[in-house]
């Protein structure tokens, strides 16, 4: 293993030149660098922090310690979701102590100079890291999007190291920061899938789930997909692949920026997995843990709903028919996207149909759904994967059109032709 060589600036920071918080954080980055076998540290241009979601006293103690030590982020830093909707505090049904601590945690990160974006989709904000830029992003879907769709470079960071990287501006030169680790490890051939199916975001979530299973923590590359794959589809794919397998980077030949050709990202002898429509249908059914056709709730926006998803939802709701009175509907998004959706009238259309719009947090993390909700429908492979364990509801996975039709009918409405194609 290579020995870690520190620069003069690194050594000075370890000696306290940038204050005690930076010293503490750099010691943490160095400890990680040794575990990862890094030979040096890299400078990062920005950070995205996942640690603002409340998991207990230790996370709160850590951020407040950094605050006491005078900590301040050294690079532009966005914040992931918290455990509360600060704009609509009554939406989360947590106990008073948890709520108070979650609020303190969110305030603690803001006090360090982080921007209170409260979104798991920072890539939907205006400032995006450019191709090839080293960043320190945490939260699995943000990581995989930054690496794959933007072509920026982040390893798979998590709680504590994220703010440590933000305060020091440094990360170990390891993992997905290095060229050698960005090569594809398995090819998923999608040539056998219909264009119509691949035009559905939900199908990409299901495909992502499959890719995570096939690739594990490796790097899948997709071939045989049509031009014009939208960011929402890549978002759905990456989020699901990061959940089912721990994928931190994927390539789509002809679509994602590092993969103009297969040979640009993959060795000639890469193993190939042919994907058939039946594979996707089987995973859709496996992720659909609900039995029967009942639907109590609709949950959209995991990761956070984009403006184009709001536009699509508004289009589907356009004829004005509301959701069934027994079906509750939640859409989670960021406050930045909500402001735009309100300006363009999409939010009003969703609310008129009966949807509750949640910001700053997410419906599968915190107690937002009413206690009587037993079965929820979603178009998100990630939501479908986590919600049964996290919040104890049964899930039905479907396309956004199926979600809207089902929420209006009050029972599952399937377009079987779509999933058979």
């Amino acid at each position: 293993m290579a020995d870690l060589a520190l620069s003069e600036e690194d050594e000075a920071m370890l000696d306290g030149a940038d204050g005690p918080a930076a010293r503490l954080c750099l010691r943490m980055v160095v400890a990680l660098a040794r575990v990862r076998g890094a030979s040096r540290l890299l400078r990062v241009a920005s950070a995205h922090v996942d640690g603002c979601l409340y998991h207990g006293q230790a996370g709160l103690d850590f951020v407040e310690r950094l605050g006491e030590l005078g900590g301040r982020v050294a690079v532009p830093t966005t914040l992931n979701v918290g455990s509360l909707d600060l704009r609509h505090p009554d939406l989360v049904h947590a106990d008073a102590e948890t709520t108070a601590n979650a609020r303190r945690l969110m305030a603690g990160y803001t006090a360090l100079g982080c921007t209170p974006t409260w979104t798991c989709a920072p890539y939907q904000l205006t400032h995006r890291p450019s191709f090839g830029t080293h960043v320190a992003w945490a939260e699995s879907n943000a990581i995989v999007f930054a690496n794959s769709v933007l072509g920026a470079r982040t390893d798979r960071y998590g709680d504590f190291l994220d703010i440590g990287a933000a305060i020091t501006g440094r990360v170990p030169d390891a993992g997905l920061h290095q060229d050698a680790n960005r090569r594809a490890t398995v090819r998923l051939d999608c040539a056998g899938l219909s264009r119509r199916l691949l035009a559905e975001d939900a199908a990409w979530g299901v495909l992502g789930h499959l890719a995570g299973r096939v690739a594990g923590s490796g790097v899948p590359v997709l071939t045989g997909v049509p031009d014009g794959v939208t960011e929402d589809r890549l978002k759905a794919f990456g989020a699901a692949a990061a959940s089912s397998g721990g994928v931190g980077l994927f390539h789509v030949v002809g679509v994602t920026p590092e993969a103009p050709s297969l040979s640009a990202v993959a060795p000639a002898d890469i193993p190939v997995h042919e994907v058939a429509a039946a594979d996707l249908r089987a995973i859709r059914d496996e992720l659909s843990t609900a039995r029967g056709r009942g639907i109590d709730a609709l949950c959209l926006g995991t990761p956070h709903f984009s403006l184009t998803e709001f536009a699509r939802l508004a289009g589907l709701l356009g004829d004005g028919s509301p959701f069934h009175p027994d079906v509750r509907a939640w859409v989670t998004t960021s406050r930045a996207v909500l402001a735009e959706a309100e300006r363009l009238g999409y939010a009003e259309t969703a609310r008129t149909a009966g949807a509750q719009i949640v910001v700053d947090t997410c419906t599968y993390l915190t107690p937002i759904l009413d206690a009587q909700v037993r079965t929820a429908m979603t178009n998100s492979g990630k939501w479908a994967w986590y919600a049964p364990g996290n919040i104890g509801v049964a899930v039905t996975l479907g396309s956004m059109a199926e979600c809207v039709a089902s929420a209006r009918a009050g029972y599952l409405v399937r377009d079987e032709e779509l999933w058979a194609s």
Binding site: G56, S140, D159, F160, G246, G389
Partner: protein, 161 residues
């Protein structure tokens, strides 16, 4: 690689395995050997119980145990969950893995900084990991130092004289 040393007893030998330190510390506890990877976030609760519905050891409690698992899995929030378990006294006594895990190391690092409690994390080569898994249920002592780590286990009783 590990070396076998005899403790002089007729009924058992003590195995001393040598591994790599991921996070330094010392601990003794009864082993809890997991048959599958585990994510602390979503996989364990704050009382230390394994709650992952898909995990073969669902319902087992990691508290105070030398947790032997092939590798960690899943969420990067596992660092927060492990740190909180260490803080509240519901965490394992030590972790033994087959590959280093950055997320769990960070949880142990932060807990040591904040609360002064060091939870050792050790990586064993596959053959030694298998020997640890095959050993008896007796207590395991971990001594993870800066250079290397030792894992001392009471070997299974001999079956014949």
């Amino acid at each position: 690689m590990g070396e076998l040393t005899s403790d002089g007893s007729d009924s058992a030998a003590t195995a001393v395995l040598t591994g790599r330190t991921v996070f330094p510390g010392e601990a003794t506890g009864f082993p809890l050997i997991l048959d599958a990877p585990l994510s602390f976030w979503g996989g364990t609760d704050l009382t230390g119980r394994i709650v992952d519905e898909h995990h073969p050891q669902r319902g087992a409690v990691v508290t105070g145990r030398v947790l032997v698992l092939p590798k960690a899995r899943g969420s990067s929030s596992s660092s927060s969950v492990l740190a909180e378990q260490i803080r509240s006294g519901t965490g394992p006594a030590a972790l033994v893995l087959t590959e280093p895990d950055a997320i769990l190391m960070l949880g142990a690092w932060v807990a040591a900084e904040l609360y002064g409690h060091r939870l050792p994390i050790v990586v064993l080569a596959a053959a030694d990991y298998d020997r640890l898994c095959a050993a008896g249920p007796g207590p395991v002592t971990i001594d993870a130092g800066p250079e290397h780590a030792t894992v001392t286990v009471a070997a299974a009783p001999r079956t014949s004289g």
